[in-house]
């Protein structure tokens, strides 16, 4: 099973198992990764599973669809390698994928 790495908002590095076929968001949720709210559960309807993909990895992911593009445009503090983790699907070639979880998913959070 591939392993992926989440850098939590606290800076903690969490290397976890990522079952093929799961979304990266589901992996985060099952491993209780801090800072991933994933309110809509993967419907691309809330933009609260936002992550910054490590630059070396960004180009290796499948490209964003229009819906994700529109959601990210107005997500909180998007960066050049931002993705919604619910739209990233785990495959064998993502072994070692590294993403950083932003300190906030929404404006209202302290």
């Amino acid at each position: 099973m591939p392993k992926v790495v989440f850098i939590e908002p606290s800076g903690a590095r969490r290397e976890v198992d990522a079952p093929v076929g799961f979304s990266l968001m589901e992996v985060a949720r099952q491993h209780n990764i801090a800072g991933i709210l994933a309110q809509c559960g993967g419907a691309c309807a809330c933009a609260t599973c936002h992550v910054y993909v490590a630059p070396g990895w960004y180009g290796r992911l499948d490209p964003k669809e229009e819906m994700e593009e529109g959601m990210l445009e107005l997500a909180l503090e998007p960066g050049p390698t931002s993705r919604l983790s619910c739209q990233v699907h785990i495959t064998a070639k993502l072994e070692g994928l590294e993403v950083r979880v932003p300190p906030r998913q929404r404006l209202e959070e302290a």
Binding site: F22, E26, R29, Q30, N32, A34, L37, Q39, C40, G41, A43, C44, A45, C46, A47, E66, M67, E68, E69, G70, M71, E73, L74, A75, L107
Partner: protein, 404 residues
Amino acid sequence: MISTILILGGGQAAAQAIDTLRRQGYQGRIVLVGDEPHLPYQRPPLSKKFLAGELDADRLPFKHRPYYEEHRVELELGVAAARIHRAERAVALADGRTLHYDRLLLAVGATSRILTTPGSDLPGVHYLRAIADVGPIRASLKAGARVVVIGGGYIGLETAATARQLGCAVTVLEMADRLMARVVASSVSEYYAHEHRTQGVKVICNTRVVRLEGGPRGLKVSCADGSSYEADVLVVGVGAVPNTALAAEAGLECENGIRVDRWCRTTDEHIFAAGDCTYHPSVHFEMNVRLESVDNAFEQAKSAALNLLGRATVHDRIPWFWSDQYDNKLLIVGLSQGFDQQVLRGDPAQRSFSVCYLKGRELIAVEAVNHSSDYMAARKMIAERVCPNLEKLADPHIPLKEAV
């Protein structure tokens, strides 16, 4: 000193409350009582990918069992709560046991509204709300099966779309003059009626089912206008009613749901409630609402958990909703009640448009069809009480966020 928090319910609100309690550092007992035998799970996929068989059951729970062990959550699943004894701060379970609490969270959700039409109790008449409902429906959704859906709301239409994609012959019967009439603008209703018809679904509005009969050729659904439809399987999606019985029997105030204040407190200071079961004040919209949504379950449970711990937190959010039907994503933010102006952005024929609602010039709600950037912009603008520039608002070439 709060040493035991008891949570009734096994859905989104319960899962979120547990998450918040532990992330906030609460170290005491958490006991979860759910009448379904499942770990708290996501309901939205039940009418979509889970019904279609595209999502395995092990992907429905928010968290798997090790999480609950690690976080010391005592699970009492598959057992119903029978009675709340407020004076003793205890809940009697259906199996005869009694659990005590310092604080109680009612996250008990809602139940499908039951059809009262004669014949409603026939085999082959289904509702869709819980995991247990899905199996029998899915087993009947074979290619060519005749499916009649009563109710053209979210659940009915999502079920219709899934059934159609599985190759069934689908008919939707709606009592109102248009689909999703309670929740969307007529242009959105028309768009969805067109989408379903294009996919081959028979969409019939203004029709009231008066009788169901069994027979050798399946179920016969008869309508007030004399028309009738044959079905191998019938799915009823005519709304939901909040689960208030426990609360009401315990003397908690209920009105279209369990009454809570902006701190998610019921009329008993030791008992809180969150999610579909509550009737609560919307601070932003200055009205009382009952919301059936993932968003409200999540946010209200989060606020409730903080208030349970004595950290006063007003539940003040802008509600949002979504629906997936075929390749269409409907995203709604805000509450349109009381609007005085509707502005259409874009052309439904382009399969991407939105409807903006204004009240006294202020943007109060947006329904976006396949238009995530309008939706995201609206979330911010509604929260900030923006009064958009009408000319720019009506011009789909100008991004919504710039229509000020």
